[in-house]
């Protein structure tokens, strides 16, 4: 087939090397294969990489064409350790292709891969594992097993992903490893990165799809990660979760099916629904109580819904089938739009989607009715698409739209595509049987088609008319007569047979014509097709029974002809019928019943869709498409009668790792009741959610949702209740109970909190501890503290959060504020303490008996010392139960803080405004950056009513204005503090500065270093966090230190001046480490400066927010190289 194509050998070889330039492929007729390979071997053995590459390219081209290149194996395998990456890759290609055939030789390459597995670079480790596991050599199974196990606990998620990919490979090579592999799968399923999730579920599906128990603990995490998993993984996960849900949750339509089916049955009495009814009934009767959807079930539905918007047709289809199989009837409708959208894609996609729509439209017709017109057929559609669209249109037909559909069908009948015309006629027939009102119209239309010029059309119409007439033959004897006349012209056997059957069946309606037709047919009997012959015999028999006088002889004649027919079927039939109808002495008891046998009332045929009941296959599957079980198909389980224990999905995780992350994410309520702990803590922050901070994937769902049950119940306890109600709105039914005990629990906690609050406030006021453990504890307690306070006093804060929730979508903002509030206390940690205080407090420290960490001396020496400890203030604030909010503290401008000009004296007509970033926590809203503004009135008159108006901000940004300054006397200056939430971006905040007379447009743009606040980490924590922020999140730069950067001290000074970071203690004197968190979202920012001999240095910045990281690197570089 392809032998003719001799290509690309010449491409590769092209003239670059004259001595090998003789291209054997092009002149291949004369040179033998043997010789050609010699040539390649020589090239592979040479020292030149270019020659090797050339040879490998030609070999790969051979493989691509399906040529056998296996005899080159020894020569190729030697190059597995080649330095050149492309050669190496091509050798891998070759190896994977031929290793199976040359197992012994393939072993030579193994050690190279084993070395690769230990490489410090994650990508090399991954690729080594990938190739190693792709070589299908049974001897290395133990090595593979070991490698997979090791890789499964690798630091790098990418390597772990590769390990997941390797599992099915090993399993197919040696199924005996299954148990061990399941262990690895179990381990990887617990992985929290999106990178791994898709691959491991894939492995799960291949190795142990029945081990549904492994999913329990990971169910919620998978649901939450789903949106950030790559597309292909999404498909696999969704399909798996569909099966999972079918085993774990109750049928959401269980009650409806009982109510509705009775009414529906009147219209479409069909067996299956009755069956379903029967099945449903005992279950429903058993529990009359209203159905309550499991929150986990809801979580799945909610988190998959946005994926209907995916560009990937397979993902959309996967979600669609999930909704079809799992969602309550009322909600399934949303998938229709997305499926209709897919129909505009490539014709292959259309084909598959239409198949599924056809199945769905039988069960849930209403869903697609609004999109009826999208199924109209164009002359340019391929026939197979046309036929499927027709199928859907027929399924959608009902009393209201049948007239439009029939009009549309009429145009189809005129099409040039005859197969399609035939299908259209059948479709009309089906509409006519399904909808009584239009039966006559359809019949008349079809009868008109009988005079069509195209024989195929006529034949098809005859067949359909026959079926229709069976329903009410009495009224249509003229149609039968008309058809009897047609027998002279129609040649299509099926149509002739149909006519004959009709005449025979209803011969009493056409008593005169019937014998005449038999006469004609007797004449042409020998020339007819078999099916026609059978019907002639049939007609003869029936006529003999009803009108033996006229037809006796004809019947005898026909039967005699049939007796000697070539076809044994016909011979048999003739004998059988003769025995039955012609009374003889020998004729048995049966002949008495001949009339009953032949002229029994035949039920009208049911014209039904070939897609009926196909939904017992999981939609979207290959098996569904073929309507036959494909190999490896996993049955979609039936709903359980009663729900299995939902608590199996609860996750209790308190590992050290998690606890670190709680710093920035959610307090750990893992001890709370089962349903509360819905939210998984996430280590990796997904991309989609970065506008919403850590709260990530939980609310990455839709807006109508009850997302509260997920995120809010985990984190909701620090909400003073205002938010959690609004979110529940849509889903009262399901969460009634839950809400109640949630409320209860809250109350309990509140009580606890209040008692704790006092103690804690004292503690946090005193302590200057920065060990992370303490920090965390304090943070968490202070959350409660803060909450209990905000509940009773800080009206403004909650109203703020409400405002916000109006702006943004409901649950997003809600959780946003949750997160912010949670973070509150953490950010309120004193960034740097004044020396005075620290002195005082070091004395008290022993009282607290905590870690013996001392603040890094360097940071203390660099930072401005004259700050009031505003954290103290804020903590006190939390404690006070009055309605007052302490005025934001201001500070005198100190030398180390850079002042920026906001409004020049001249431009401001005498009003000069400067601002600086005070680096103090902004106490009213801890996720805002405090900006200290100094107004100086240089005029001779008073300036009144200084305030801010009309802030124009990028979305998400917020400003908290300073209180209006009533009067600023001439020559005086005043300092105020305002807060701006820059949302961790360096976008300027624009607003108008207004006096009683004028307005000035001004803007404040923060340097990136001011968007963060110090974070206190121990050396260990620092390393751990840094380990988590590798890859894209890590930015490395080499630099030459500026002349003045002579010692560590200067470096620390420069760095902390550039960015609001705190120093992290470090064992090595070559390294300075700094840590901070972004103010708005609390992402960690880790900076390491490693100095080297001779003024060189390396700067490493690890930050989840790459933009911040990049900008920070620039700024620090500049600062250090000055």
């Amino acid at each position: 087939m392809s032998a003719s194509s001799a290509f690309s050998d010449e491409k590769g070889g092209s003239a670059s090397e004259p001595e090998y330039g003789h291209d054997p492929a092009s002149g291949g007729i004369f040179s033998s294969d043997y010789k050609r390979h010699d040539d390649l071997k020589e090239m592979l053995d040479s020292n030149k990489d270019s020659l090797k590459l050339e040879a490998m390219k030609r070999i790969v081209a051979m493989i691509a064409r399906g040529k056998n290149a296996s005899d080159l194996f020894p020569a190729v395998v030697k190059n597995v350790a080649c330095k050149n990456i492309e050669v190496k890759k091509l050798v891998y290609v070759y190896l994977v292709r031929y290793a199976e055939e040359q197992q012994d030789l393939a072993l030579l390459s193994i050690s190279t891969f084993q070395r690769g597995l230990k490489d410090p670079n994650q990508l090399i480790r991954a690729s080594a594992l990938r190739v190693l596991s792709s070589i299908r050599v049974t001897i290395i199974v133990p090595i593979m097993m070991l490698a997979i196990k090791e890789a499964a606990s690798d630091m790098s998620p990418y390597v772990r992903k590769t390990a997941a990919h390797a599992i099915p490979k090993l399993h197919s090579l040696d199924p005996e490893q299954k148990d061990q592999l399941i262990e690895v799968i179990e381990k990887l399923l617990a992985d929290k990165t999106t990178l791994v999730a898709g691959s491991v579920v894939m492995a799960f599906e291949e190795v142990c799809p029945d081990r549904i128990d492994l999913i329990h603990k990971n169910y919620r995490k998978l649901c939450n990660l789903l949106i950030d998993v790559e597309e292909w993984g999404q498909v696999v996960i969704i399909n798996m979760l569909t099966r999972y849900a079918r085993t774990q949750f109750l049928n959401p339509n269980i009650n409806e099916s009982l109510l509705e089916e009775n009414s529906e049955k009147a219209f479409y009495a069909s067996d299956d629904e009755e069956e379903e009814d029967k099945k449903a009934e005992p279950a429903t009767l058993a529990k009359r109580k209203p159905y309550v959807m499991d929150p986990d079930h809801r979580l799945l539905l909610r988190n998959t819904k946005p994926l209907l918007q995916s560009r990937n047709a397979a993902v959309v289809m996967a979600v669609a089938q999930l909704y079809f199989h799992l969602a309550p009837k009322a909600e399934v409708g949303i998938i229709a739009k997305a499926l209709v959208r897919l129909m505009r894609s490539h014709s292959e996609v259309q084909y598959v989607v239409l198949q599924n729509v056809a199945t769905m439209s039988i069960k849930r017709r209403g869903m697609f009715e609004p999109y009826l017109k999208s199924f109209y057929i164009r002359s340019t559609d391929p026939t197979q698409i046309k036929v499927l669209k027709l199928e859907v249109l027929t399924n959608l037909a009902n009393e209201t739209n049948i007239s439009t559909i029939l009009r549309e069908f009429q145009t189809y009948i005129k099409s040039m595509d005859k197969d399609f015309v035939a299908a259209s006629i059948q479709a009309i027939g089906r509409c006519a049987t399904n909808i009584g009102e239009v039966r006559d119209t359809c019949l008349n239309g079809l009868v008109q088609l009988l005079s069509n010029r195209d024989e195929l059309v006529v034949a098809e119409s005859v067949v359909v008319i026959k079926k229709l007439l069976q329903m009410q033959p009495e009224q249509h004897s003229d149609i039968i007569k008309h058809m009897a006349k047609l027998i002279d012209n129609i040649q299509v056997p099926m149509a002739r047979a149909s006519i004959l059957w009709l005449i025979g069946e209803y011969c009493e309606h056409v008593p005169k014509i019937a014998p005449d037709v038999l006469r004609k047919m007797a004449k042409s009997f020998t020339n007819e097709e078999d099916i026609v012959k059978l019907q002639i015999i049939n007609l003869a028999a029936k006529l003999y029974l009803t009108n033996s006088k006229q037809s006796k002889l004809l019947t005898q004649y026909v039967l005699n002809l049939a007796k000697y027919d070539q076809n044994y079927d016909i011979r048999d039939r003739a004998r059988f019928i003769r025995q039955l109808i012609v009374p003889t002495d020998k004729s048995g008891a049966l002949s008495k019943y001949a009339k009953k046998l032949f002229l029994a009332l035949k039920p009208a045929p049911v014209l039904e869709s070939p897609f009926k009941d196909r939904d017992h296959f999981q939609l979207g599957s290959l098996s569904h498409l073929l309507n036959a079980k494909a190999a490896g198909y996993q049955e979609l389980p039936n709903w359980p009668e009663s729900a299995p224990d939902p608590s199996v999905r609860n996750v209790e995780v308190i590992t050290l790792l998690e606890r670190v992350t709680t710093l920035t994410s959610i307090p750990d309520w893992s001890k709370c009741s089962s349903r509360k702990d819905r939210k998984e803590k996430k280590v990796e922050k997904p991309f989609y959610s970065d506008s919403e901070g850590e709260s990530g994937p939980t609310e990455s769902a839709d807006s109508e949702s009850d997302s509260g049950s997920g995120s809010a119940s985990a984190s909701g306890s620090d909400e003073s209740g205002s938010g959690s109600e609004s979110e529940e709105s849509g889903e009262e039914t399901e969460s009634d109970e839950e809400e109640e005990d949630e409320e209860e629990e809250k109350k309990k906690r509140k009580k606890l909190d209040k008692t704790k609050a006092k103690k804690q406030a004292e503690e946090s006021a005193e302590s200057e501890q920065s060990s992370s453990a303490e920090d965390r504890k304090r943070g968490r307690k202070a959350v409660k503290n803060q909450k209990s306070a905000s509940e009773s006093e800080s009206e403004s804060e909650s109203s703020e959060s409400e405002e916000e929730s109006e702006e943004e979508s409901e649950e997003e903002s809600e959780s946003d504020t949750n997160v912010r509030k949670k973070r509150t206390p953490v950010l309120k940690q004193p960034p740097k303490q004044s020396k005075k205080e620290s002195k005082k407090e070091t004395q008290e420290m022993s009282l607290l008996d905590l870690d013996d960490y001392e603040p890094a001396p360097a940071s203390a020496s660099v930072t401005p010392v004259n700050f009031l400890s505003s954290s103290l203030v804020s903590d006190l604030e939390g404690l006070s139960l009055t309605d007052t909010i302490l005025a934001p503290t201001t500070l005198a401008p100190s030398g180390s803080i850079k002042m920026y000009e906001l409004l020049h004296r001249i431009k401001g007509e005498g009003l000069a405004v400067e601002y600086c970033f005070s680096r103090q926590p902004f106490s009213p809203e801890p996720n805002m950056v405090a900006v200290q503004i100094q107004f100086t009135n240089n005029t001779n008159s008073e300036t009144k009513n200084l305030h801010i108006e009309d802030p124009r901000l990028q979305s998400g940004m917020r400003i908290r204005e300073f209180a209006e300054i009533d009067v600023l006397a001439a020559g005086e200056s005043v300092t105020v503090v305002m807060g701006i939430d820059f949302c961790d971006s360096t976008q300027a905040a624009n607003f108008q500065l207004c006096t009683h007379t004028r307005k000035f447009f001004v803007s404040i743009q923060p340097p990136v270093g001011e968007l963060m606040t110090p974070a206190f980490l121990t050396e260990n924590d620092f390393k751990k966090e840094q380990g988590k922020l590798m890859g894209m999140n890590e930015i490395l730069e080499k630099l030459t230190l500026g002349e003045k950067c002579v010692n560590e001290h200067v470096i620390v000074e420069r760095v902390t001046a550039t960015a609001n970071l705190s120093r992290v203690p470090c064992g090595s004197d070559k390294e300075c480490r700094f840590a901070g968190k972004t103010v708005s979202s609390g992402c960690l920012v880790l900076v390491t400066v490693t100095t080297k001999e001779g003024g060189g240095a390396q700067l490493t910045v690890n930050c989840e927010k790459m933009l911040i990281g990049t900008m920070l690197v620039k700024d620090i570089l500049q600062a250090l190289s000055q």
Partner: protein, 445 residues
């Protein structure tokens, strides 16, 4: 079928073992065959053990049965395998599957493969694939691992394997350097896997094309049976670093059903109807949308037609006039009319008032390249058709398919409000272009 062409004794056992196991556990895409229009397999790639190309015989059978090339069923069951194929650029991409897999998964993947080839080689023809067979092989190797998609983002692939350019080919042959990226592809590890790292441009620019297509069926009398607008926003973004873009619309409510490139932040769209995204580097489809069917669709052209055959005569009359309808004052350009005439028509003798027409007597396809519609002088095509002598008049009516373009207009009225960039300091050049095209625009006669 022999699974292994060279039966080396030591491997026979293992091979047999493999085969039985594969039947039970192998999933996803096993092998891929590329078949050209004349039915030759010109490339094969196996991700697991080798499947003999004789499996394609089942495909060829189906190909023969199909009357038209596009009528080959996308899924063909064979005794031991399933063949899932797509037809693009007159090449069949036939994937061999051994067990249950969502068919769309494979189909979507195959289309992605074709898109990648097109992206790499400019065209996806047999010649282009043959010319770049090594790159093709390297790509396929990266795109699937053990039959499961691994790297399908074009940005990542381009980091791994550089697309061939004439310059690079020349340089490579001289210096012996390679197509394979020297650095390791960090993109795979990134949280923005669609964007490659270290992007640098001297001219930073971002272009967005809003392209809308009108799908319509117009009936005999000129009234609209169904009409809808499909739109896409295609972007060409060449921006340095890691820009974060937001794109907002004047009238986002127009968009009824949208599907996004994975880079778009879904939450932001849900909440604010703003597209916020870190774009991939280069060309990509940001968004495709459907304009809600409640809105009336403006139909920019009308057709007056009179195609008739007289009974008993061997002549038929053909008259066609085109005119602009609701075009919002813009010119209708690149108009192309095509129609499949009934089989009985032997020839057509027509006279266009502008443009050129062709009639293929074999396929009976009439096409008329009109060009631009001048509202003052409407283009028309008139003349006669000759029918087979003695044949009765054809009772089918030809459908007229129309293609056209309208520049600087999005027929739905969609307007981009603004495009902002965050995260980078420079000022990019931004451009937005609108265009309306005919999609499947048919007039029934």
């Amino acid at each position: 079928m022999p699974n292994h062409p060279v039966p080396v004794p030591s491997s026979v056992l293992a091979a047999l073992k493999n085969k039985t196991i594969h039947l039970s556990a192998a999933k996803m895409i096993h092998s891929l065959f590329l078949v050209n229009a004349s039915g030759d397999i010109f490339l094969e790639k196996h991700w697991k053990s080798v499947v003999s190309r004789s499996v394609c015989d089942y495909f060829f059978e189906a190909l023969e049965r199909a009357t038209e090339p596009e009528n080959v069923p996308p899924v063909i069951p064979t005794p031991h395998h399933y063949l899932i194929n797509v037809l693009r650029h007159r090449i069949y991409f036939v994937a061999v599957i051994q067990s249950e897999v969502p068919p769309l998964f494979v189909i979507e993947f195959l289309h992605r493969v074709v898109d990648t080839f097109q992206d790499y080689f400019g065209v996806c023809t047999e010649a282009a694939i043959k010319d770049n067979v090594v790159v093709v092989y390297e790509l396929l190797e990266e795109m699937l691992d053990n039959g499961f998609p691994l790297a399908t983002e074009s940005n990542i692939l381009k980091e791994l394997i550089k697309p061939p350019t004439i310059l690079r080919t020349v340089v490579n042959t001289i210096t012996g350097s390679t197509n394979v990226g020297e650095q390791l592809p960090t993109g795979q590890l990134s949280v923005v896997p669609w964007r490659r790292t270290g992007v640098k441009y001297t001219n930073n620019e971002a272009y967005f094309d809003v392209i809308e297509e009108i799908d319509a069926i117009i009936d005999k009398s000129g009234s609209t049976i169904t009409a809808e607008i499909q739109g896409v926003i295609d972007a060409c973004v060449k921006l340095t670093g890691m820009p974060d873009l937001t794109l907002s619309f004047m009238n986002p409510r127009l968009l009824d059903d949208v599907s996004f490139h994975p880079c778009v932040r879904f939450k932001r769209w849900e909440a604010e109807r703003i597209l916020s995204f870190i774009p991939p580097d280069g060309n990509f489809r940001l968004l495709s949308y459907h304009v809600s069917s409640q809105n009336l669709v403006a139909i920019p052209v009308y057709v007056k037609h009179n195609i008739s055959f007289r009974e008993g005569s061997s002549q038929g009359r053909f008259e066609l006039t085109l005119g602009p309808k609701q075009t919002m004052g813009k010119a209708v350009e690149s108009v192309l009319v095509s129609s499949q005439l009934p089989r009985g028509v032997l020839n057509a003798n027509l006279n266009p008032s502008q443009g050129t027409y062709t009639f293929d007597p074999v396929t009976k396809l009439l096409s008329w390249d009109v060009g631009k519609i001048n509202p003052q002088k409407l283009p028309s095509l008139k003349g006669s058709m000759s029918l087979q002598a003695g044949a009765s008049k054809p009772d089918e009516n030809p459908t007229i398919n129309i293609q056209f373009k309208i520049q600087q207009l999005a027929i739905s009225g969609l307007k981009v409000n603004r495009l902002d960039m965050y995260g980078e300091k420079y000022k990019p050049f931004k451009g937005i272009k609108y265009m309306t095209k005919a999609g499947k625009f048919q007039v029934r006669t």
